[in-house]
């Protein structure tokens, strides 16, 4: 029924009713640890914990989690690989492997590899933390919580509007694509390119018109520059918050330990 799987899981998982503040704390801690330590050892532990919590507490299967992790991981990998490969000078230390094309020398150094690994570790770990939040917490709960934390209104308004109109835009684009398709708009490569161009430019115009009619409709309900909505107070439990912080501290200790032992 819901064509947006992440959204469907966010509304249907067992951690849905848990206070957003606690989930944000857990996810933010995971991201912070991965970014701070930039170490594969820490990332491995964080990803394991996140997977376990999703599986055991939220009832979200491995396949779902890794399914969503897979696509952005592709982006990370394609970004990290060129980082590890660099142009070598005659004196570059620590060359692990190299190829020579004419007078060009391309290769991987231990320093470059370590750097690439660090980026891989921090981005992959942050990704799993963010995905944890996306899968367990609907956007409305997140914006509510940000409001309670007095995050600037403009930021939250933008977040809310972008979220809402992403779906409107997707629906519009889908309908336009279908309309083009039934009139053979995508039957050849040439037509495909033409149709996509038309769709993109039309979508822009439609978005403009949408914005105007949204403004009109909001004005009718007394809009004067701020999108104020009601926010419920959500309870949070000190024990759970302490538990989450405890996990963070343990992972932090693990990070410091692996660093002193000289692991990656």
């Amino acid at each position: 029924m819901n064509p947006f799987p992440i959204d469907a899981i966010a509304y249907g998982n067992r951690l849905r009713s848990a206070p957003a503040a606690e989930k944000i704390l857990f996810a933010a801690g995971a991201v912070a640890l991965c970014v701070w330590f930039r170490s594969l050892a820490v990332t491995a532990v964080v990803v394991t914990i996140v997977t376990a919590v999703l599986r055991l507490r939220a009832g979200i299967g491995l396949r779902d989690f890794w399914g969503f992790l897979w696509l952005p991981s592709g982006f990370i990998l394609t970004g990290v690989v060129p980082m590890a490969i660099e142009f070598l000078g005659p004196q570059t230390p620590g060359v692990l492997a190299a190829i020579h094309i004419g007078s060009w020398h391309l290769g991987v150094t231990s320093r470059g590899l370590a750097q690439a690994m660090a980026i891989l570790a921090s981005s992959f770990g942050s990704l799993s933390g963010t995905l944890f939040l996306a899968l367990t917490t609907p956007v409305v709960d997140i914006t509510d919580q940000l409001r309670r934390w007095y995050v600037p209104v403009l930021f939250i308004d933008m977040m809310m509007l972008i979220y809402r109109f992403t779906f409107v835009l997707l629906a519009t684009a889908g309908a336009m694509k279908t309309a083009q398709e039934v009139r053979l708009g995508y039957s050849t490569n040439r037509l495909w390119l033409r149709s996509v161009a038309m769709l993109a430019s039309n979508l822009y115009l439609r978005s403009q018109m949408r914005a105007v009619s949204l403004f009109t409709a909001l004005s009718c309900r007394g809009y004067s520059g701020e999108l104020r909505v009601l926010v419920d107070r959500a309870p949070w439990s000190a024990t759970r918050v302490l538990g989450i912080l405890g996990v963070h501290v343990l992972v932090g200790v693990w990070g410091v330990a692996t660093r002193t032992w000289g692991w990656v």
């Binding site: 409305v140 409709a217 004005s219 309900r221 009601l230």
Partner: protein, 327 residues
């Protein structure tokens, strides 16, 4: 009085009440008026041409007219979105002022429901969207909460309250959009083609929602192309043509005015057309009260054409007799 509207799915008939005939005789004060309003769009299209009409308080008003006759433009004037080039909009006897205080007053009193609910819903959840209007009125949080819950209950969307708008059906979005203006406690709710694109059951539900809002003392104004609905439901019909008022009055009178129907390119409702034929053919006396829906028409036929004496039934009887002879 309630009539049963037969649906395609006969198992689940939906009822909606039809107004009593006597209501229109009570004179009502004018709640909202357009006085000599002229408006043209930047491209030169004259949308309203010195239009003067009044919306009586507590009535169900249906605005009819061909596409481009100025219905939506008129509604946008009532909502304070457009400003007349000449003439004025009058609320409760006072001309509308276009400063902040004037707009707040107008927008609290006049709830405008747009045809496309997607242009109205913006928040991440239904409840939050509904809370937007009342919060803009500067009410206390407790009052806003009460208003939001009351609107949710009145529009029967409690099960949708925590959902995001993109998980709602078209009909559900329409109800949420209505709840969003209802929460501001307006005197009049103006809806632009609220039944367009709805299936018969959703239409019947929406009409009964409008009826319950009307019973609670609110004035309801809708535009539609559905002449049967206008005939059955309206206390008063307003017919526009090219930005001018063609006629206003009780639906049975307006829909029997051939000049108005032709001028506004309106179809006569089938109920009245059939009534006309039956009068013309002598089955129903010409001074009979015109019916407003199929049930009233059936009652009329039942009163004036009894199965034993009427030519129709005797014709059937002879037909049946003939058949039995053959058998």
């Amino acid at each position: 009085m309630a009539v049963t509207v037969p649906l395609i799915d006969q198992a689940a008939p939906v009822t909606y009440p039809v107004p009593g005939r006597r209501e229109r005789e009570v004179p009502a004060e004018t709640l909202l008026e357009a006085r000599g309003v002229t408006f043209s769009y930047p491209d030169g299209t004259v949308a309203l041409n010195s239009l003067t009409i009044g919306i009586p308080r507590g009535r169900r008003v249906v605005v009819l007219g061909a596409n481009g006759c100025g219905k939506s433009t008129l509604f946008l004037h009532f909502g304070g979105v457009l400003r007349p080039k000449s003439g004025e909009i009058v609320l409760d006897g006072q001309p509308v002022r276009y400063d902040r205080a004037g707009m707040t007053r107008l927008r609290q009193q006049v709830g405008l429901v747009f045809q496309d609910p997607d242009s109205q819903l913006f928040a991440s959840s239904v409840r939050q969207d509904i809370s937007f209007g009342p919060l803009n009125l500067g009410w206390s949080e407790a009052k806003v909460r009460d208003a939001v819950e009351a609107a949710i209950e009145a529009t029967q969307i409690a099960d949708l309250a925590d959902r995001p708008a993109h998980l709602l059906s078209y009909g559900q979005k329409k109800r949420v959009a209505i709840a969003g203006v209802l929460a501001m406690d307006p005197s009049v709710i103006i809806a632009d083609e609220p039944t367009a694109g709805l299936d018969p059951e959703s239409t019947a539900r929406l009409v009964s929602l409008f009826n319950s809002l009307h019973d609670a003392g609110r004035t309801i104004v809708i535009s539609t192309h559905d002449v049967e609905l206008a005939l059955a439901w309206a206390d008063e019909v307003v017919v526009l043509r090219k930005g001018e008022l063609l006629r206003t009055g009780h639906p049975t009178e307006v829909f029997q005015d051939a000049a108005v129907l032709a001028g506004a390119r309106l179809q006569q409702p089938i109920v009245l057309e059939t009534f006309g034929h039956l009068c013309h053919m002598g089955y129903i006396p010409t001074d009979a009260v015109p019916p407003r829906n199929a049930n009233e028409l059936a009652e009329l036929i039942g009163c004036h054409c009894s199965p034993q004496t009427s030519p129709i039934s005797s014709g059937f009887d002879s037909l049946r007799a003939g058949q039995s002879h053959h058998a």
